[in-house]
Symmetry: C2
Subunit: 216 residues, 2 copies
């Protein structure tokens, strides 16, 4: 089908296109830990295969065919992450690297059966939505904690930063997916935020609040 490198480029373009509209060569180079010149070469190849729309100097977007492949890889990644956490008892900060390898196992029959085996989960361990076998999915309506008013209640439902360091910090504070919180105060000096979590009061930096997502 497609090579491992091609799959990783498509996936990266998909992720970057969620923020921006069109994706630049340098953005891809940064995310893929490679050089801009290498990216240009690969973009030509993917354009040749009609998986991306590429005009030199103008950035890229995915074609429908390219997006379909990207979403399928993300489906595999998130289902394997769910498997690793729910069945093999890994923690949410331990599974990303493994899933990066597992997402390239080619069989769709395998991934569909894995999906069924786990009861068709809708969200992965980080709260990200898992596309179904047709590529359809619905994200939670998420807001960063930093974006809500005092006295707002919410349920922790996702993270913006997926780094192990951030996830471990959240774990230590008890700020895990599904927990109910209330924003009780904002410190004027540095805009850090005070949360009520059950009977515990927790103070988090603005930086953390920006990266912690809740549903209302």
């Amino acid at each position: 089908m497609n090579t491992l490198a091609e799959e990783n480029y498509l996936k990266s373009i998909y992720h970057l296109a969620l923020n921006n509209e069109s994706v630049s060569t340098n953005q891809l180079a940064a995310l893929l830990n490679t050089k801009a010149s290498s990216v240009t070469d690969m973009l030509k190849k993917l354009a040749e295969k009609e998986l991306i729309n590429y005009t030199p100097y103008q950035g890229v977007t995915l074609t429908p065919a390219g997006e379909k492949i990207a979403i399928n890889i993300i489906r595999k990644h998130r289902l394997w992450e769910y498997f690793l956490v729910e069945k093999l008892n890994f923690k949410w900060d331990e599974v990303h690297e493994m899933a990066e390898e597992m997402e390239h196992i080619s069989s769709n029959e395998l991934i569909d059966r894995l999906d069924k085996f786990m009861g068709f989960p809708k969200y992965d361990p980080h709260g990200d939505p898992i596309p179904d076998s047709d590529g359809k999915f619905k994200a939670h309506d998420l807001k960063p904690v930093s974006g809500v008013d005092i006295n707002t209640n919410g349920v922790i439902s996702g993270v913006r930063d997926h780094s192990a360091a951030f996830l471990q910090y959240l774990d230590k504070q008890g700020l895990t997916i599904g927990k109910k919180i209330t924003v009780t105060d904002v410190v004027e000096f540095d805009r850090s935020m005070v949360l009520q979590l059950g009977d515990k009061t927790i103070q988090i930096s603005r930086e953390v609040a920006n990266n912690l997502l809740i549903t209302l």
Copy 2:
């Protein structure tokens, strides 16, 4: 660690060394679907890494380091096959290709947890022994059906041919792992063999009998 190609060479050398003593360039080329000249190139590389003992024109053997890697790959392959059959309900003739990809997932922690999740199985769906995390395993004491006398009882415990065609044939005849059989007769004309399987009488060719393995 090692590349995918390197891992496949080590695994192939291990499998071929079970029959012969030392493994030839052409044997490897045939098993790996490549050319003898490509094999020579790779053997130089593996010898450089001290994973094989290689003397030009004299064939190869694995060093202890190379054997350790080979057995670990086989452990992964067989555990994933077990998972696919026991948890995802694939049939024993459907899992080989998928496991060929999955055996290269690098994390040993993952495979150890998978092993535990499944209750530390000792044999894969084809009856082949699964090495433990130290690389230790014990094969069944297997005999081909063609190698036993009339009126011998045995339990089907393995296959020599792992092809989908052969496994599907066995399935259709009800000749699956764990079934008890008795050899009741040998046809003089073509040395095909007559088996009793529960209340069914089955006749199998000498070829099939050579590839069907039982414990006594």
